[in-house]
Amino acid sequence: MPVRLSAFSLVRNALSSHERWPQLWRSPEPRRRYDVIVIGGGGHGLATAYYLAKEHGIGNVAVIEKGWLGGGNTGRNTTVVRSNYFYPESARLYDLSLRLYEGLSRDIGFNIMLSQRGVLTLAHNSHQLEMLARWLNAMHLNGIDGELLEPSRIREWVPLLNDSPTARYPVKGAVLQRRGGVARHDAVAWGYARAADALGVDIIQNCEVVGFLREGDRIVGVETSRGELRAPKVALAVAGHSSVLAAKAGFRLPVTSYALQAFVTEPVKPVLSCVVVSMSTGAYVSQSDKGELVTGGALDLYPSYAQRGNLPTLQGAVAGLLELFPCFSRLRMLRQWAGIVDVVHDSSPIIDEAPVKGLYLNCGWGTGGFKAIPGGGFAFAHLLATGRHHPAAEGFTLNRFTRGAMIDEGAAAGISH
């Protein structure tokens, strides 16, 4: 096990001028054979490796990452975690994820700074209020916490919200999930990496998959920029690059990759205590512990693998934010960026065997992958280790597209992911 991190270890190391801190993880030379190779050193890949080792005793695992770990969507999102889902299938998976998040800092001994400050979803007209009610009652039946707030209560939570009588989108009501909030994205990646490494998982960065090794109709390993690595099971957790890897393995996916933008403002003193999501403007915003307002908006309108922001989409997101908070107009944007998200028709994930034997898929998280990291990794590890779908991830199969059995949250309650 790695060194237990605590205030005590901090003091002890301060006395030795911090010169004795061990590595968070090793940088091993890849072995030639593993039980499982996980492609993708983002949150989902690292969590998968960790749970393979911890829950299933499979530690002979490699996580291979083209760049630096956590450098994809894990390090580019708006850090929101929540489980306020409509369909029982979604609720089971995302609430498993949130429950794992709730114990994660202690479990992996690394502070992921889970801040359950509440996620507030705003309705702006009577139709949306009805949708909120439909959604909230579904949450209750799914066993998820949630409460309806009247406008006066909303103002207690978010005093700076636009209260102009001429607001384009007056706030009529909101659903609050208190267990929702934010977590520190980098810490999730680093914490899982550190914990997985301690259980024997090899984390291999700067290692690009250039092809798959096959025996007959089976995939038996990967060809990488650092040589051939073999394993009876290869797991794909590469989000926006799923189609690219699938093409290398010889099949296509129901996935389209889009840029999802976000931006932060300069840090200011606390002005927003919870996460705010608006059904009309599509904007979502929270304030980081450092004081920056972290804001996201809609997807760019065409597919892209360019991890950079686009001006019209950004302007739309800013205008949406200012409709909710006209007082933020004088704050300044400090950074903007984009992640490449893997969007499928119903915006629900795919956790399944690939059409090619020996290969497994974890993709399709679209704009909501961060909150699902622990649950997605847990369920994916279960599938890899046992060959069976985890009860919390049933339904998220590839053949739902042939059957037409979508799990479309937006379609059911008009609430986007």
Partner: protein
């Protein structure tokens, strides 16, 4: 912000346009002869390439014509735009 050359109207800014998916996209039929798999392929499965892709765009705030764009999903460079009635440009990689 892309600048797209509409074959009818000339170069215009991105907000005037709407993206409409990869081409060619062949609608299978007649329905009774199409398998579930083929139908799902048509509805959902896409190349989604990292590189040049042929796709259709609509000049929504202009001539309202759909046309074909050859665009890189990595650099967003646009190599060609042609009318739907023209021969489909070569796929580039």
């Amino acid at each position: 912000m892309l600048q797209i050359t509409c074959p009818c109207c000339g170069p215009r800014d991105e907000p005037e346009f709407r993206w409409g998916g990869e081409v060619p996209l062949v609608r299978p039929g007649p329905p009774e002869q199409v398998s579930d798999e083929a139908w799902a392929e048509y509805l959902f499965t896409r190349d989604n390439p990292k590189g040049f892709v042929r796709e259709r765009w609509l000049h929504a705030l202009g001539c309202r014509q759909w046309f074909v764009v050859v665009r890189s999903t990595v650099t967003h460079e646009i190599r060609a735009t042609t009318r739907l009635t023209d021969t489909l440009p070569e796929a580039l990689t």
